[in-house]
């Protein structure tokens, strides 16, 4: 038994704590933020590589984003992915989760011959978690969200562990299926140095446009989205006393004890 393609959807996100908001123009400034592969997607990629190591198959990463994401896809290849596809097209700008899941689903269909699709549980910027089940619906395959492990039990069947409130459940699912992978469920490997050099210098990733996927411009981007952002607002922190307590540990503890006693009364 060998698996067919294992496809991983991957996105690049700015580190949330480095994003600045301009209250006058009401825009988000990402220019100073460091970009990284979305952390949960890295766990999805690691899961895919482990599955390939155990059961065979090819790991292909697919991403929808601007050309500057290329190095991040090459990093995924350096980590061990066999191939990478970047869907890059100005027409995709402004896509909400509906056209995003459609575009990724079309790319997955174009890659074809898949047994398992893996996605991070959610992105660190939007954080909706809606795209993975959305992709599964476009593809007409079953999905399982918040998965922390996958074992193949027999040809065409997998056993997955899904986090639920207060615990977990074990589900059996028929292939092909999509799983969204929980952030932090494994430790993503570091890229091999020689493979990294090869990925950076020689590897050519595939770049597809919406036309390559047979999408018409009305279906994607702002036009294809079913939600729109009216405005952005920065949440002001609630009013706090901000009383600072300093001193030797004994004094600080004494003062805190006094405050807590007062509050517990």
């Amino acid at each position: 038994m060998s698996l067919r393609n294992i496809i991983v959807t991957l996105k690049v996100t700015p580190k949330p704590e480095e994003i600045r908001f301009d209250p006058v123009t009401k825009t988000i400034d990402r220019s100073k933020a460091t970009n990284e592969i979305n952390p949960a997607d890295k766990n999805a990629l690691e899961m895919a590589l482990q599955l390939r190591d155990r059961y065979g198959g090819r790991v292909i990463v697919v991403s929808m984003g601007p050309p500057f994401w290329e190095p991040f896809l090459k990093l995924a290849v350096a980590m061990g992915a066999d191939d990478a596809v970047l869907i890059s097209d100005r027409a995709l700008a402004g896509s909400d989760t509906l056209p995003t899941s459609l575009t990724l689903a079309r790319a997955i269909q174009k890659i074809g011959d898949y047994d398992i699709i893996l996605a991070g549980e959610e992105s660190s910027d939007g954080g909706t978690g809606q795209v993975p089940p959305g992709i599964a619906e476009w593809l007409g395959i079953p999905h399982v969200t918040y998965v922390t492990s996958i074992d193949i039990i027999e040809t065409g069947k997998a056993r997955v562990k899904r986090t639920i409130k207060g615990g977990y459940e074990i589900l059996e699912v028929d292939m092909p299926f999509l799983a969204s992978i929980e952030l932090g469920c494994n430790t993503p490997r570091f890229p091999d140095f020689r493979r990294k050099r090869w990925a950076e210098r020689e590897f050519k990733l595939k770049v597809w446009s919406t036309a390559d996927l047979g999408l018409n411009p009305e279906e994607v981007g702002f036009k294809g989205s079913a939600t729109t952002v009216d405005t952005l607002v920065e949440l002001k922190p609630p009013e706090r006393l901000k009383r600072i307590i300093t001193g030797a540990p004994e004094e600080v503890a004494e003062e805190l004890a006094r405050i807590i006693r007062e509050l517990l009364r």
Binding site: P39, L98, P133, P142, K165, E172, D230, R243, I244, L263
Partner: protein, 322 residues
């Protein structure tokens, strides 16, 4: 009359508390606009509990019963609710942003080619009928005011612990609908469920929260919590590295606290964390970095090493909790 549907999650006959929060919020919107609220309840044997949802805001409840529906399972839940939406064409569909709520809504939104807002922290319906939600993003300190522009039903998942359930109304009218389960072999089957207990921190009165500053050792955090009769929470990184369960991390994608008192130790105060402590009455934090952003979100900010301060604080408070 416009109809707001609310997916009411249950497990083995016990309601998911956050579904009741959504019901109440939906009812408040409905009352202002003259709309109707319909609870959608799937389970093994739920007709006897369905009417009680009226107290939290449902005018009526559609109850669907089948043994396979005892706990959430994406395939039958999506198909049954999708079938009901197809048949009855509601105007709005809301769910709590639990794992299961997101799982269901994400799939249904594509099935109906409609807009879905994620984990909104505020919700309203505009004059023209469009659903308006406040969607926190980029870690939670920036909120997008989002409007649905396409598709029916207009959908949103609602963040947990943001609205309070109110028991104000009366028994709802219940319609029991026969479950149409696909006779074919289901593609996803439950093999086993393991539960280790669960604390709903959004209901806790007092919480002690540990962050990365603890180095992953929550012994002192737990001891302080025990002494002041508080529950224990963590910041997300501690859940991500497996030190604490995912159900107890505080922040924009985790739990929002509504406690009277939160004692927060070794948490720097990243935006996605502090959005989860907005509704805490009194925030006390301890951090060795006097510049830590958490100071802006604290009533009392103690500067120092938690491993030196906490043991002394615990000694002083021992036996004094009210």
């Amino acid at each position: 009359m416009k109809d707001i549907w609310v997916f009411v999650e249950q497990d083995s006959g016990v309601f998911e508390e956050s579904s009741l929060e959504v019901l109440t919020k939906a009812r408040e919107i409905a009352d202002a606009r003259g709309y109707r609220v319909t609870g959608v309840l799937l389970g093994r044997d739920v007709r006897r509990i369905a009417g009680s949802l009226g107290w939290y805001g449902a005018h009526r409840v559609i109850a669907v019963e089948h043994p396979i529906l005892e706990s959430y399972l994406s395939e039958p839940y999506t198909n049954i609710i999708g079938g009901l939406i197809e048949e009855r064409d509601p105007d709005y569909f809301l769910a709590s942003a639990t794992r299961n709520g997101r799982d269901l809504a994400g799939r249904l939104a594509v099935r109906f080619r409609t807009g879905l807002q994620a984990h909104v922290i505020n919700l309203d319906i505009a004059e023209d009928g469009s659903l308006i939600g406040h969607v926190p993003g980029f870690g939670g300190n920036i909120v997008a005011v989002v409007r649905n522009v396409k598709g029916r039903p207009q959908m949103a998942t609602v963040a947990l612990g943001v609205f309070r359930p109110k028991k104000l109304w009366g028994e709802a009218e219940v319609e029991v609908v026969e479950a149409k389960i696909d006779p074919l072999e289901p593609k996803v089957r439950r093999v086993e469920v393991v539960r280790k207990g669960y604390v709903d921190l959004s209901k806790s009165k007092r919480v002690v929260v540990g962050g990365m500053g603890t180095g992953g050792d929550l012994t002192l955090v737990r001891e302080l919590a025990r002494i002041i009769k508080a529950d224990v929470g963590v910041s997300r990184p501690l859940s991500d590295i497996g030190v604490a369960p995912k159900d107890i991390y505080i922040g924009s994608t985790g739990v929002s606290l509504n406690a009277d008192l939160a004692v927060i130790v070794g948490v720097s105060g990243a935006p996605h964390f502090v959005s989860g402590i907005r509704n805490v009455k009194t925030v006390i934090s301890i951090n060795k970095d006097p510049e830590a952003p958490i100071v802006e979100y604290s009533d009392y900010f103690a500067v120092g090493d938690l491993f030196e301060i906490l043991p002394r604080l615990i000694e002083k408070l021992r036996g004094e909790a009210g």
